[in-house]
């Protein structure tokens, strides 16, 4: 029981571990496609950012207000931002840190796009200021009041050149050159009154352009200061790191899974092998068991046959013993009358010469001889004696004849085994057979009812009667009574044999019909008599029961059906024949 529980638990644990490992290897959040998409987003962002930086740089070098490139860059940047923000959840799923990084990046991008907008405006502002400046310069230079060789001419030209250079390169030298030029312009403006206003305007415009340019430059600086590329690098670095780490983890789990699965497979293989071997053993044992069972069955069958044979032999020996006893009894019964009949006949024959001598003497008329003969055989004594002796002999022969007839009736060898039989007559015959056991000692009381002939095997029923009478006689120590009563009751012929013998206790009563049960000393009875009786009665579809108490005598009550059982007539006649054989 405990072993089975442990077994179930270990199988469950193995399955759970397997499931965990499978989930571990399968729960990888970054599919390759997701990973690629994320990497592409990052790359796009990088490209858009760099492009924006290039556009910003390039726009600064332009003196016109052409800002299409910037606008495109902003658009690409925004597209990349949108892409990043759609992937943000995925980053978050990968790691909370990455999610923070991405958010910061998006914020920076937003700042950058906003700054680029400002930058664009400032650029346009500068461009318009510069345009106006150039127009003023051209007007001034074309103005006749300022001829080519005029000092101011050179200042104005130098101013525009320096401003342009400043706008493009913005070196510190430029600035100081411009400021010195502006000083010269301020100082020399008075020299040309016609142009003084224009020159002052120019100076103001120049200052404005310088201011605009400085703002542009500051904004560009601001833009350059936004660490998008670094953030991007960081994000990418961390993402890749994380990805590699998780990949590594998954790979590790996968290895574990593979090892575990292999181990499980080995275990299952072992279990399977064991199972197969057990099955083979089981089959082997089955085969052996069958052989053993067969052998045992054969042994048992042999033992049964032996027992049956011994039983048959015992039944046979019981029959022979009963027969021997009966024959001995009958022999005595016959030998007694035979003894005196024969003795008497011989005595008479021995007397014959004396009688003849008396007869001859009387014929001869010799008185002395007559007297002698008379003395030898006095007829007044001898004749009645001869009469008596012959009468006894006759009686004895009659007795013998009757006994022989009884024997014939008892054995019924000349009749079929299933006939209509007068039970009263059978009992009478049997009483004659066992007469010598009863005579003088036991009084037999007969109460024969009016019995119709009963279908049975007469010799077997006589055997039953003999057995019951013998038992009754043996139960009586000294003088006693056997009462026999026959009658019809409930469609059955009932024969009761009651003795005034010692009786028996309940224990004995319960076993008397069992084979080999005997109350006689060892060697004096096989204990089969009543079991044979029981068998015979059963074969006749009858019943036998016993009433007895210690000191109260015993009554055996035999019941036989009056009607011939339908089957008994044919099939069972054979079995009866067999049981007799």
């Amino acid at each position: 029981m405990l072993q089975r529980l442990l077994m179930a638990i270990s199988v469950g644990a193995a399955l759970v571990v397997l499931a965990v490992l499978v989930v571990r290897t399968q729960s990888e959040p970054q599919t390759v496609q997701g990973h690629l998409a994320r990497m592409i987003t990052l790359a796009q962002l990088r490209v858009a950012n760099e492009d924006a930086d290039i556009q910003v740089a390039r726009a600064r070098l332009r003196l016109t207000a052409e800002t299409d490139g910037l606008r495109d860059a902003v658009q690409r940047l925004e597209a990349a931002r949108a892409s990043l923000s759609t992937h943000r959840d995925e980053f978050r799923a990968v790691s909370r840190d990455l999610s923070g990084n991405a958010a910061a990046l998006i914020e920076q991008i937003d700042t950058k796009t906003a700054l680029i907008g400002t930058y664009e405006r400032q650029l346009r502002q500068f461009a318009s200021v510069y345009e106006r400046l150039r127009a003023q310069v051209e007007t001034l230079l074309a103005h006749p009041a300022l001829p080519l060789g005029h000092a101011l001419h050179g200042v104005v030209r130098g101013l525009i050149e320096e401003i342009t250079a400043y706008a493009l390169q913005s070196t510190p030298d430029n600035r100081s050159t411009i400021e010195s030029l502006l000083d010269r312009l301020g100082a020399d403006a008075a020299s040309v009154p016609a142009l003084r206003g224009a020159l002052l305007d120019l100076g103001r415009s120049t200052t404005a352009a310088l201011g605009e340019k400085d703002r542009v430059r500051a904004t560009a600086q601001q833009l350059a200061d936004i660490p998008i590329a670094a953030g991007l690098d960081d994000l990418q670095q961390r993402y890749v790191n994380h990805y590699v780490k998780s990949e590594f983890e998954v790979a590790r789990y996968r290895n574990v899974l593979v090892i575990y699965a292999s181990a499980l497979l080995v275990v299952f293989g072992f279990v399977g092998w064991r199972l197969r071997r057990s099955y083979a053993e089981l089959q082997d044992m089955n085969a052996k068991l069958e052989a053993t069972v067969e052998a045992r069955t054969a042994e048992l069958r042999k033992a049964l046959n032996d027992v049956r044979m011994q039983q048959a032999q015992l039944v046979q020996s019981e029959k022979m013993a009963a027969l021997g006893q009966m024959v001995a009894g009958v022999a005595h019964e016959i030998n007694t009358p035979l003894g005196y009949a024969r003795g008497n006949v011989e005595t008479v024959r021995e007397a014959l010469p004396l009688i003849r001598e008396l007869f001859d003497a009387q014929q001869s008329g010799d008185a002395q001889r007559q007297e002698q003969a008379r003395r030898n055989w006095p007829p007044e004594e001898g004749l009645p004696e001869i009469e008596m002796l012959l009468a006894d002999a006759d009686y004895g022969l009659g007795q013998i004849g009757e006994l022989v007839r009884s024997l014939k009736d008892f054995a019924r060898v000349d009749r079929s085994l299933n006939e209509m039989f007068d039970l009263n007559e059978g009992m009478e015959t049997t009483l004659k057979i066992c007469h010598n056991q009863l005579k003088g000692r036991i009084e037999v009381k007969r109460d024969y009812g009016d019995l119709p002939p009963v279908p049975c095997a007469p010799s077997q029923i006589n055997q039953v009667f003999l057995n019951l009478l013998n038992n009754a006689a043996q139960a009586i120590d000294g003088p006693g009574v056997i009462a026999i009563r026959t009658r019809v009751e409930d469609g059955m012929a009932v024969v009761e044999v009651r003795d005034s013998g010692c009786g028996m206790d309940a224990e004995t009563r319960a076993h008397i019909f069992e084979p080999f049960f005997t109350t006689k000393p060892v060697g004096q009875g096989t204990g089969l008599g009543l079991s044979i009786v029981f068998r015979i009665v059963e074969d006749h579809r009858g019943s036998i029961d016993v009433e007895s108490a210690v000191g109260q005598g015993t009554t055996f009550r035999l019941r036989l059906p009056l009607q011939r059982p339908r089957k008994l007539a044919t099939a069972d006649a054979d079995s009866l024949q067999e049981s007799v054989a």
């Binding site: 035979l338 003894g339 024969r342 000692r441």
Partner: protein, 310 residues
Amino acid sequence: MNATNVPTSRPHLLFVDDESRILLSLRAIFRADYDVTTAEGGAKAIEVLKKERFDVIVSDQRMPDVTGVEVLRVARELQPHAIRMLLTGYSDLNAIIASINEGEIFRFIPKPWINSELRETIAAAVRAASVEYVALPEPPPGPQQNAAYNEVGVLVLDEDPQTTVALRAALGSEREVYTADSIESALTLLGQHRIGVMFTELAVVGQSVAPLLGALRQHHPALVVVAVTSQADAGHSISLINQGQVFRLLQKPVATTLLRGTVNIASRRHEMLRQHPEQAQRIAADTTPMLQVADRTGLLRRIRGLLRWV
């Protein structure tokens, strides 16, 4: 109980049977020559035995009240001088053995009898009874007291060594026990040693010992024979008593105490027979049939040459 009034000098016979016609028949045969008394049944016989003296008692075995063996046993006590016989048509082995051992009967006569043979048997019994009865000598008080008594050896004629072993165990060193496993060697031993008691199986080396017994009964009448057998049957036992007058018939295995007792009483009987040779007539057997066989086999001649000292 019908004692006749003829002079009492005639031998007195008692016939016992439960069948009155048997008694009438026997009376008709013997009344001319003997005083005949009949008793119908064992109980009546015992009554008569207490009142009258008989020379020969003949009883049926199977009677409703008292068995013949019982009647003869009582007769042996009351009238030990009388010769006892069983006349029965029922040859029950146990009854025969009991009649030998307890009744010490003279003959066993089966029914139906033949008048002439019965007359001879009765005549033999009357002759035996005419020899005055001598009681067995009292057993000597100690084993050393009577050298002659103890000198008497015991011969065992049996192929089964167990008989000798049992006998030696029963007797200890009291008495010499000789063993023979054939009739030849038994004869040799009988010639060499003083042997008073012989224990014998019914047959050795497939040869019946009956002729030997017959011959010994005639030529060595003081030898007391005890049959010890594992194969007793009624016919054998009857011939052992009728023709061999065996003293006892024991069935194997024999208890030690019984063996010892039997040897002692047989020795006393041997001593009695030796001292009173005429007593042998009281146990005269009908040896004719056995002697005929013994003569044919030359056994008789050998026996005649032996046993000078008896």
